[in-house]
Symmetry: C2
Subunit: 370 residues, 2 copies
């Protein structure tokens, strides 16, 4: 079997892959963007993931490659795949995570439920879509968006004059009147084995994930996991697949976004599942049999730790937080503090209720604030 896993990108997702790799006895190497990245401990190379030669040099040191993010240029991946290097997910799958227009087209072909959408190339096309979709829509740049970036609520083409001026196609979607947002995490390996976690509810604030509740109360797991499996198989995804879903008042689920890597909505699984998303991603990338994703406790709640300013790295408040909430699992990513930055997260489990788990997580969360 493949023994050495290479991860492109040195962020917190790469960081959190290190622990299961250590436990499994799998060697892990990271190509980091900068010195002192969250995944520093496993960083064997620092360089630009957009540069073909840099990525090739790194690829030569490992058996199989995977990703901390989806930003490696498709040409780089395709060139190296043609040279025999192995990426999980492959460029065939990853292109759909990189380009939201391609993703929408492919999901439509697969019959996966998605919001009404269109590719627009002009102000006129945008205004026409707005007129036929309740006068307010979601406009997205096909590439480069994350955590609310590259996404805009628009009521008229005038709201998007800057993006339209770039002369590139944009993705417009109906503004779904959802009652809540869900996420369906699952993983698939090259042999075709596929396993889902429980459906979770995600709560966003300012376009950034703030809370994850596992399981999502009264969620339609059967439907959510069917959608996830259809996407995983249809897009030939390997590794963890996160499917973000809108739930509408009539119980419909519509796919919002996809990620082909461990995802913020799956951090709860480090303590909350028998196999975490990070262990499963490592297993899947190496085409090992997948672990059991079943819950380790009835309920889990994860709260993100967002930077409050450029000083509080939260670590100084561990004493207070651990005393206040001994049952909370506190994680920080070793990042320099900055307001709004994802600095860490807190997870708490409970066999009583989501409210009980949330109270524990929240007590730690509050104690960690400056």
């Amino acid at each position: 079997m493949a023994r050495t896993l290479g991860v492109i990108g040195g962020g917190q997702l790469a960081r959190m892959m290190i622990a299961p790799a250590i436990e499994l006895g799998i060697e892990i190497k990271v190509l980091a963007e900068t010195e002192g990245s969250p995944a520093q401990l496993a960083a064997t190379q620092v360089g630009d993931y957009q540069d073909l030669d840099t990525v090739r040099e790194f690829a030569k040191t490992v058996d199989v490659l995977t990703f901390d993010h989806e930003h490696v240029p498709l040409e780089v991946l395709e060139t190296l795949e043609a040279e025999g290097f192995k990426f999980e997910p492959s460029s065939k799958a990853l292109r759909f995570a990189q380009n939201k227009l391609d993703m929408r087209k492919r999901l439509a072909e697969l019959g996966v439920p998605i919001p009404d959408w269109a590719q627009i190339n002009s102000a006129a096309e945008l205004d026409e879509f707005i007129a036929s979709h309740g006068s307010v829509v979601i406009l997205k740049t096909p590439t480069g968006g994350y955590d609310g970036k590259g996404v805009r609520v628009v009521r008229s083409s005038a709201d998007a004059a800057d993006w339209l001026a770039l002369g590139k196609p944009l993705l417009v979607e109906e503004k779904v009147d959802f009652v809540r947002e869900l996420a369906q995490l699952s993983a698939r390996n090259r042999s075709g084995e596929w396993k889902p976690w429980q459906t979770v509810q995600t709560i966003q604030r300012d376009g950034v994930c703030a809370e994850v509740l596992s399981p999502a109360p009264n969620a339609n797991f059967e439907l959510a996991s069917q959608i996830a499996e259809r996407i995983a198989v249809g897009l030939d995804v390997t590794g963890v697949l996160a499917v973000e879903l809108f739930e509408t008042a009539d119980g419909n689920l519509l796919v919002n976004e996809l990620a082909m890597r461990p995802h913020n909505s799956g951090h709860f699984s480090i303590e909350g599942a028998l196999t975490s998303q990070f262990e499963q991603h490592v297993r899947a990338a190496l085409n090992l049999p997948l672990g059991q994703p079943s819950a380790a406790a009835e309920y889990a709640v994860m709260l993100n730790l967002l930077g409050t300013d450029d000083k509080n790295s939260f670590v100084e408040h561990y004493d207070r937080a651990m005393n206040t909430a001994p049952g909370a699992h506190i994680h920080t990513y070793g990042k320099a503090p900055r307001a709004g930055r994802k600095m860490g997260h807190v997870t708490a489990l409970s066999n009583l209720s989501l409210e009980d788990a949330r109270a524990t997580a929240l007590a730690a969360h509050q104690a960690l604030q400056a």
Copy 2:
């Protein structure tokens, strides 16, 4: 708070401290004996832990130091403590883990139940002890023993002629007629907070730990944890304390051995407890509040993976083992294979029974053999 933890020794115990350090956002550095040690990923220095200058050089790069093993010479620790460096456990505690004669004397002073023992300096003294203790006794070298080394069953001073010839004091103990062996793991921090895990049963083969059952069926947790707390406080232990116990037919518990570090009998806690012994050791060394040691499932069984030859590193058999026992948690330590060597371990949890957990662990264990 202290932010950077230094671990002296690069073995599997140091390796398994890396994962919780990553999760907690604590920087961890390892002084390893050799290149390519199990804890290689965090090794920032390679050198001889017996050399004062080497250890001092390492100590300067961290806030607080702890250990993968108890073999750092006491003089080195005492010298560096006098210079202001902080070790957890300190030399004051660690001397009892380093010298079994000192340990027996101190436990006797504390009123902790231990086997009958004596310090002997001659063949005559040994034969006298044998005569008064059922004609078979356990002889131990006070220092340097582990995994059955430095321990011998003797029926006459002739059985120990080589050790007696060294002219150094030896420890002799009655051969306890025990019905089983238990271990009581606990942890204590510098502030005095102390927390025990459940009492476990350990099953040794050829002097090496083979199996750990958690919890030990019908064990006297109250007594075992009382003993552990008396030792932890009485010896001023910080970090994880492992107390190995003999259980006699009448339900008495006698202290066999001590270790002041994470211990093989506590590996089950990685998945089997809300806070693993490795996370707890990291917390305790940094004098952070301790996590909850309560069980994550009703039952946990850990089986050691001992090297079968100089080829099987077990990793080649992951496919088979993970398919056979999807619920098993497989760990390997990245060591070069050698017959009898501790290469890894397998843990399985169950809410049904120890037998159920053991069956899962055993299925994986067997599938990992060549």
